[in-house]
Symmetry: C2
Subunit: 201 residues, 2 copies
């Protein structure tokens, strides 16, 4: 069984990552979304093991200490992280796994899972990002300015990713993601022993 | 203008490279086929600059000496090689260029054009290759055996290529090639300065 691909995906806030991934999942039956562990309390309707693994701070710290986390971070007083075991299990079953992660987490992953594929999704221009934020009409001026400042800062991490996908037209961005998954499977480095099998030696 | 991609394609004899490339060219208007230079005489119907650049041995040697060839080799008394200038011109126009080449030439190219993308097309198994050769019914037993022996030897070079595409179903192999071209364009290493432009700095 050929191992699946671990696809690490980051984007600045309002970068349109959610829409692209939703479409990608609809087109790929062999794609799985990694589930994070967190120490925060479940919100109404959230399901343990589906939305998050809800764990105590002690359990979380133990997983970190024993190297059982792919990456982890603290955010407004709660811990978030990616348990390694379920991801590895899917990959070993030949399933591809998407790991949505912020840009800081992205840099940790590459050290722990060097054969992962990292994709940064970017708006075509800052003007487009600003327009998208304003068109939503859900945030006040101050929040929009803060989000834009954060996005500018996050964008500077993009070149550390393997691929940069431009979220201009949705269908183009999704096709880019599909092409990345498909071509990565054809990399010779991901097919050790393949030629030996063709030669039957 | 973003530079095009130099796609180096090799396959063992009877590997089905021709059929795959023909289909790939039909689907890609921005794809060009690199034209080789040769010192052999033109055959009836062959057009200079289209089928080959037909040149004298002196001219050929001069191109080699001045570093104007991407790769070159001698084959049954005639010289064959890939002039660099027309390939570079297409790439600078943003066009992608296919370079069909034998496995020995393939290893030279990577040294001279490190940003090229190399693809090895392989039959799924040696049995399939043998069946294809026999089904053509154009070669005698001795020739078939020779071709199979050559193919086995050529296959050992496959893992030095960036990608291995299996020629099992034609449409899958063509889609693999398309995915490779598409995803390579999204590599961050091929998009220097892109994020600066998004940020407008």
């Amino acid at each position: 069984m050929k191992k699946g691909i671990l696809l690490v995906v980051s984007a600045p806030s309002a970068g349109g990552k959610g829409t692209i991934l939703k479409e990608l999942f609809q087109q790929n039956e062999t794609l799985r979304m990694s589930v994070s562990a967190t120490t925060r309390q479940p919100r109404p309707g959230e399901v343990d093991g589906k939305d998050y693994y809800f764990v105590s701070r002690e359990t979380f710290q133990q997983w970190v200490d024993t190297g059982s986390m792919l990456e982890h971070a603290e955010y407004v007083g709660n811990c978030y992280g990616t348990p390694k075991a379920p991801v590895e299990e899917w990959l070993n079953q030949g399933l591809d796994v998407v790991l949505e992660i912020d840009v800081q987490g992205g840099s940790q992953i590459k050290n722990l899972a060097p054969d992962c594929v990292s994709v940064f999704i970017t708006p075509p221009t800052m003007e487009v990002l600003e327009k998208r934020l304003r068109d939503r009409g859900t945030e006040d001026e101050e929040t929009i300015c803060k989000r834009l400042a954060t996005a500018r800062q996050e964008l500077t991490f993009a070149e550390g990713y393997d691929y940069i996908v431009i979220n201009d037209k949705l269908e183009d961005a999704v096709e880019d993601m599909q092409a990345i998954l498909r071509s990565e499977k054809r990399k010779s480095a991901r097919n050790p022993g393949f030629i030996q099998r063709v030669l039957n030696i």
